[in-house]
C-alpha cells in the first residue's frame, strides 16, 4: 500500500473511532513535525506543546480532510498556520508573509559571486553543521520554513508549493535564497 493510501486508510479508520489508527498517524508524523516546529520556534518544550496542539487540531478536523490531497501536505499546512498565529501573537516581524511576497516579486536571479570565500577549507563538516544550525535561527521565517521542509523533512518543491499555495518557482526561489543567506551567515566571523 502506498504511503498516500495508507494515510487515507488510517484517517478513515480514525474517523470511525479507531483510536489505534490515530496513534499510528501520530507515530508516523511526530518526528518530521517536531523537526519542523522545533526549528521554527527554537525551544524544545514549546515545540513539543505545539506539536501536540497540531495533532489535536488534526484530530478535531479529520472530517474536513479532502482525500484528493496528500495527508502530509494538509498536516504541514495546519502546522504552518499554527506557527504563523504564534509569531503574530508574539508580534514578531520575522514571519511577515506580506513582506516576503513583495521580496519574491522583486528578486533578480542570484548570480555566482566572482571572488567567493571558500568554506570547504575553512571548516570541518561538523563545525559547518553547527554554524548552519545557528544561521537557520537567524533567517526570516518564510525562508526558514521552506528550507526545513525541503532539506530536513525532505519534501518535494511541489509538495511545499501545495502546502503554501504558492507557485513552485517561488518556492524554489525561497529555498535558494535561504541557502544563500545561510551561506553568508556561516561565512560571518563570530
Amino acid at each position: 500500500m502506498s504511503s498516500m493510501n495508507e494515510d487515507k486508510n488510517l484517517v478513515d479508520r480514525a474517523i470511525l473511532g479507531e483510536k489505534e489508527a490515530f496513534e499510528m498517524i501520530i507515530q508516523k508524523y511526530q518526528q518530521p513535525l517536531l523537526n519542523y516546529i522545533g526549528r521554527m520556534v527554537g525551544e524544545r518544550e514549546l515545540a513539543l506543546d505545539f506539536t501536540q496542539e497540531v495533532f489535536i487540531k488534526i484530530y478535531s478536523s479529520l472530517r474536513s480532510y479532502k482525500p484528493q490531497f496528500k495527508f502530509s501536505t494538509w498536516l504541514y499546512r495546519i502546522a504552518s498556520n499554527t506557527i504563523i498565529d504564534y509569531w503574530r501573537k508574539k508580534k514578531i516581524d520575522a514571519f511577515s508573509m506580506d513582506q516576503q511576497r513583495n521580496q519574491d516579486k522583486d528578486l533578480p536571479p542570484l548570480q555566482v559571486p566572482a571572488n567567493e570565500q571558500p568554506l570547504a577549507r575553512k571548516f570541518e563538516i561538523s563545525q559547518l553543521r553547527e554554524k548552519i544550525e545557528r544561521a537557520l535561527d537567524r533567517i526570516p521565517g518564510p525562508l526558514r520554513e521552506v528550507f526545513i521542509w525541503r532539506h530536513i523533512n525532505e519534501l518535494s518543491y511541489e509538495e511545499i508549493a501545495e502546502i503554501k499555495g504558492l507557485p513552485t518557482g517561488t518556492v524554489k526561489n525561497r529555498v535558494f535564497q535561504a541557502k544563500e543567506m545561510i551561506r553568508s551567515l556561516v561565512e560571518e566571523k563570530p
Binding site: 518526528q31 523537526n35 548570480q111 570547504a120 563538516i125 559547518l128 548552519i132 544550525e133 530536513i152
Partner: protein
C-alpha cells in the same frame, strides 16, 4: 556562455534539471573555474545540511497526545455518587408525582415542604419524651446509689472493726479466686 545562476547550480546539485539543461550546465562547468568553485561550495553546504541533527520526540509522546484528545474519565467519590443518586431519585419522584397528581412542580414542592414540617412537628414531642425518660432513669440510678451508700455506712457502724477486716479480706480472696477460676475455665474452654 555567461556564468551560471545560483538557482541553476542548486537545481544541478539536486538533479532537478532537464537532460538538456543538465548538459548545458556541465559544458559550462568544464570551462569556468568560478562556477566550478561555486558548485563545490554549495555541494559542501548541501552535504552538511543533509546531516543536521534530528529532534527526537519523547517515547511517551503518542500517549501524551492521546491523553489530551481522550482525557481519562475521573471516577466520582462514593459519597458524591450517593448524593447524586439521591438527588436524581428525588427529581424522578417529583416528575412521577407531577404526572400522577397532575399538580405543577411549585405546588408539589410546597406540599412536600409542609409534609416535612408536619413530620418534624410530630417528631419534636417524641424527642422531648425520650429525653424525659432518660433523665428519669438517671434519677433512679442516683437514688439507688445513695441508698447503697447509706446501707454500707449503717453496716460499718454496727459491725466491729475486726469483723469488718475479716469480711473485706474474705471478699477480696473470694473475688481473686473467682477471677482465677473463671480464667482457668475460659482457658480450658479454648483448648477443647
Amino acid at each position: 556562455m555567461k556564468c551560471l545562476t545560483i538557482e541553476q547550480i542548486y537545481l544541478y546539485i539536486e538533479k532537478e534539471l532537464s537532460p538538456s539543461e543538465n548538459k548545458e550546465v556541465e559544458n559550462h562547468l568544464r570551462v569556468c573555474p568560478v562556477c566550478q568553485k561555486a558548485l563545490e561550495e554549495r555541494k559542501l553546504l548541501s552535504q552538511a545540511t543533509e546531516s543536521l541533527h534530528l529532534w527526537e520526540a519523547p517515547p511517551d509522546f503518542t500517549q501524551q497526545v492521546m491523553a489530551r484528545i481522550f482525557p481519562p474519565k475521573v471516577s466520582l467519590p462514593a459519597w458524591l455518587g450517593t448524593l447524586a443518586t439521591g438527588f436524581a431519585s428525588m427529581v424522578l419522584c417529583f416528575f412521577i408525582l407531577t404526572l400522577v397528581t397532575g399538580q405543577n412542580l411549585r405546588s408539589l414542592l410546597l406540599s412536600f415542604t409542609e409534609t416535612v414540617f408536619d413530620f418534624l412537628k410530630y417528631l419534636a414531642p417524641l424527642f422531648v419524651k425520650v429525653l424525659k425518660l432518660a433523665s428519669l432513669l438517671v434519677t433512679i440510678f442516683q437514688r439507688f446509689a445513695e441508698f447503697l451508700l447509706k446501707g454500707l455506712t449503717l453496716l460499718t457502724s454496727i459491725i466491729s472493726m475486726e469483723l469488718q477486716i475479716i469480711i473485706i479480706s474474705t471478699t477480696i480472696i473470694l473475688i481473686i479466686t473467682s477471677i482465677f477460676a473463671l480464667r482457668r475455665k475460659l482457658v480450658f474452654g479454648e483448648k477443647t
